[in-house]
Amino acid sequence: MKTNKIICLLALSFLSISSLYAQQGQFYQFSLDKETKIRGSKIYFQEFANKGVESQIDVNALAKSYIDFYFKTYRGVAAKKIQNHISWTRNPRFEAVNSQAEADVTIGGHYQIKTNAGAGEQLFFEQGNSVGGAIPYFESRQLNTAEVMVVISYTYKNKEVDYDTIFIQEESERKPGKKFQSVEDLLADCESKLKSNFYKTFTFYSHKDIWYKLLNVKTKDKVLKEELKTADNLFESGKIKELGNLFLRIYQAEPENKEAAFNTAMCYELIGNYPKADEYYAIMPDFHTKVRMKTNRALFDYLNNIGANLIVEDF
């Protein structure tokens, strides 16, 4: 009985000690999904011209709401996860301008909405049995259709133009036991598909939750040792830059302290300074961080290449 109690106490004390070192938190990791046709950081939205009939779908309002993705900064719940975190996600990477002359890229184009409610009949005769005469009959089709075509043009400063095309077609045929949709219903379906198509067209990166765990760092320096006691608080309160600065100073004081270098790299990663993160991760290479950094760099380098306005911070 006594032995059991001792084992329980030992296990509890072990858990409590290890939890002291478990500095981990959940943050966003951003990744590039596909390439975008945006070049530069200044975007001008020119309303799409309507080349068809007026309809219930406000294509321009929809397009505008999805183009706003480019000017997005994270707020609310999302902002909590990136508070004091990746600096370039807290600032707009692209800027909306008021004229084409100022813009690096002008997003415009045209759209066309077509609807048709039609019926047609075709005459047939029985094929197999003509006893008493092949009986004539008609086959009737009643078909409602609605289609939306949007041509999005990207006009760059050098007058070059690139295009995206969205084409949505919905149809409903009258058949017994099957709901026959009106043209208005089909247009509503087109509108909902148009939303998802705009989203797919203008969104080029996404994010997911990732758990980051810092390594246990020890130091012989008495001042730094005292300061290290605040590491938990700094991490939990999201003061990543201060925490990174502490690990950096430990590493600079003790260049053989690879754990401090690793934590410095992780802090650089958390504030979105990937070139620096790569530099410090190289001191204590780890397969998982290599994979993660590959994803990070893909988006970061891509944004830099297309001329997005990235604000990168240091400790």
Partner: protein, 174 residues
């Protein structure tokens, strides 16, 4: 090789010409009774635009219309002779009515109406001959020899002459 093509060409031409048409407008009895699989038609009078049904309704493309199917009495299907049809009103089973309603020319009551087939003792009164007139058909009762007519009020009448008879248009429904 040339002979083979010459031999196959008519076969190919015949098979391609068969595309898109029904082999027969008839629903096999076992398909109707066991499989509930019908070759369905909306039957419309050309003049009045009434649709053949227990209670005739005006044809409206935007609504679901009453449907019928045709069966053939095997005893009447003698090679080289005219086929004798029974015209069934296709009842929606979801409505709870599972009876077999057929078009009958009731000579005793001198009226034409849809009635339950198991109550008809004189089977010939529910048997109809189809006369083809161009793209339309006439329905002639095999017992009385009267033609089916639907008047402007949507009532069925038995008429003696072909000129008075309703010219029916069949629309195949998938």
């Amino acid at each position: 090789m040339k002979n083979l093509i010459v031999f196959l060409l008519p076969v190919l031409l015949i098979t391609t010409s068969l595309d898109g048409g029904l082999y027969s407008i008839v629903t096999k009895k076992e398909d109707a009774l066991v499989n509930q699989k019908y070759t369905k038609f909306v039957v419309i009078d050309d003049e009045t635009q009434f649709v053949l049904a227990k209670t005739p309704v005006k044809y409206d493309l935007s609504k679901e219309m009453p449907m019928n199917y045709f069966t053939v009495d095997l005893t009447g299907n003698i090679p080289g002779k005219q086929r004798i049809f029974t015209i069934h009103n296709l009842v929606n089973n979801a409505g709870g009515d599972e009876y077999d309603w057929v078009l009958e020319d009731n000579a005793d009551e001198n009226t034409i109406f849809f009635s339950r087939s198991n109550f008809i003792t004189m089977k010939a009164s529910m048997q109809w001959l189809i006369t083809v007139r161009g793209e339309r058909i006439l329905l002639k009762n095999s017992r009385t020899g009267a033609y089916l007519k639907v008047d402007a009020n949507g009532s069925y009448l038995a008429v003696k002459s072909e000129t008075e008879a309703s010219k029916w248009k069949l629309i195949h429904i998938f």
